[in-house]
Subunit: 257 residues, 2 copies
């Protein structure tokens, strides 16, 4: 995907031929009720979103999904069905995980409005994702650790239970509003190319290997240390070249031994 | 309802004993599908709304409504069932009618965010309402004429069809956000202790040493690589514990050789 720009007849260069929303993926992980997938498609289409990714849905395709999608059935037909989260988000540069309540402080947490603005900013250049978990239990710690930030939708403290499609609806609405509100703003940001999630995952694997080899990390008790490292680098939003340098250091250290 | 104020012991007058949301009614006119009434109740409860008014619902109560309400069934039990629109809104001071597209300009039209802010402003003192029409055809001209303003939720031009409960969800969310934004902002961010600049500098020195020892960094040409690393970690705003972990990795790698 990405945004290659477009040379117009009058010689001006149009940096934004497609909508940034075309760079936004809605990723549903392990959805139980196909009706929610259909309702999600409808919620998305009304807000100009069209890229639906389903990670191991329990039932799909299904006629309940079709029924609830109403006239957004085309999004179901083009939905990507993935057998792993990485297959859905590996080539994106930023993924935000929806959580009902702030977790263990392992990520920077934004509210729906802030997150939408952040996602739209990145979607002008690269694919981004919004990840929603199971209806009953939300996202697992492992799933969240593959994302760079968590998002929460402000709700009443006593009852924070949003239906899956309702949460997608609010996020889609905020993305749409963020796009409208920044449409006039054209910041030339001179950004470096962000690393893809897959590149970052490969770096983590490399780092973990070196940590274990050096005796710093006990593979029997790996979780917390690696999670801390993920949190640090998630905050930094690694660039492609930075990942190359970091992996260069790890390789050099490895060869030296 | 209304808000009569409350005289406190110290003689101050508390103008806001209850939430303004208690003064907001969600009014559904001639709803066909009881599932939508249930989903509406759930959408409302998560946003702190509890006053549901049903004008001539086709089927209610109904087990499909109960099922979709999830844990918001209490709102269905206290719902007011009315045989006319006036019975539902007659004693309010302001009612906003949801329409998919701007109508005949006979009303001032606000978008969802503006309307929410306007409704909350009035709800601090008096009951207000938000009116939603039939799933298929929306509100009639006669119904709209009984309201003071129309609201539209911004959507994609090619597909503006929102599910009824999805529209309620967005409006409830905007009401909640409007209330939050006008309350005093007190974010307590519970942040971890940041590393001191000296600790970070010591980490850089340690990193540089390992990079040189491993042969990755040529000390004759050190500048650019270290500057890249500084830029990365500066962006991350390192915490004290993270610096300790990073230095632990460097030490482990160092000892192994």
């Amino acid at each position: 995907m990405g945004n290659s720009g477009q040379l117009l007849k009058d010689g001006h260069f149009n940096m934004n031929p497609a909508s940034p929303l075309d760079n936004v993926r809605i990723v549903l992980s392990h959805t139980s009720h196909p009706g929610n997938i259909g309702a999600t498609a409808r919620a998305m289409k009304a807000m100009g979103l069209r890229n639906l990714y389903l990670v191991n849905p329990k039932l799909f395709p299904d006629k309940e999904a079709d029924a609830r999608a109403s006239n957004a059935r085309d999004l179901l037909e083009t939905a990507h069905i993935c057998t792993s989260l990485q297959a859905a988000i590996g080539d994106t540069c930023l993924v935000a995980a929806l959580t009902t309540r702030p977790r263990d402080l392992s990520h920077s947490t934004l509210d729906a409005r802030q997150a939408a603005s952040e996602l739209i900013r990145h979607a002008r250049h690269s694919p981004v994702g919004l990840l929603f978990g199971r209806e009953s239990s939300g996202l697992t710690t492992d799933e969240i650790s593959q994302c760079q930030l968590t998002v929460h939708i402000p709700t009443h403290a006593d009852y924070s239970s949003l239906n899956l499609a309702a949460a997608v609806q609010i996020m889609g609405y905020e993305l749409w509003m963020a796009l409208k509100n920044t449409a006039a703003v054209t910041l030339s940001e001179n950004q470096a190319e962000p690393a893809s999630l897959r590149e970052v995952e490969n770096f983590y694997a490399h780092l973990e290997k070196i940590m274990i080899q050096s005796g710093f990390l006990d593979p029997q008790q790996p979780k917390k240390l690696m999670r801390r490292m993920r949190r640090l680098f998630a905050r930094a939003r690694l660039e492609k070249e930075e990942v190359n340098i970091l992996r260069g250091i790890l390789s050099a250290v490895d060869n030296k031994k």
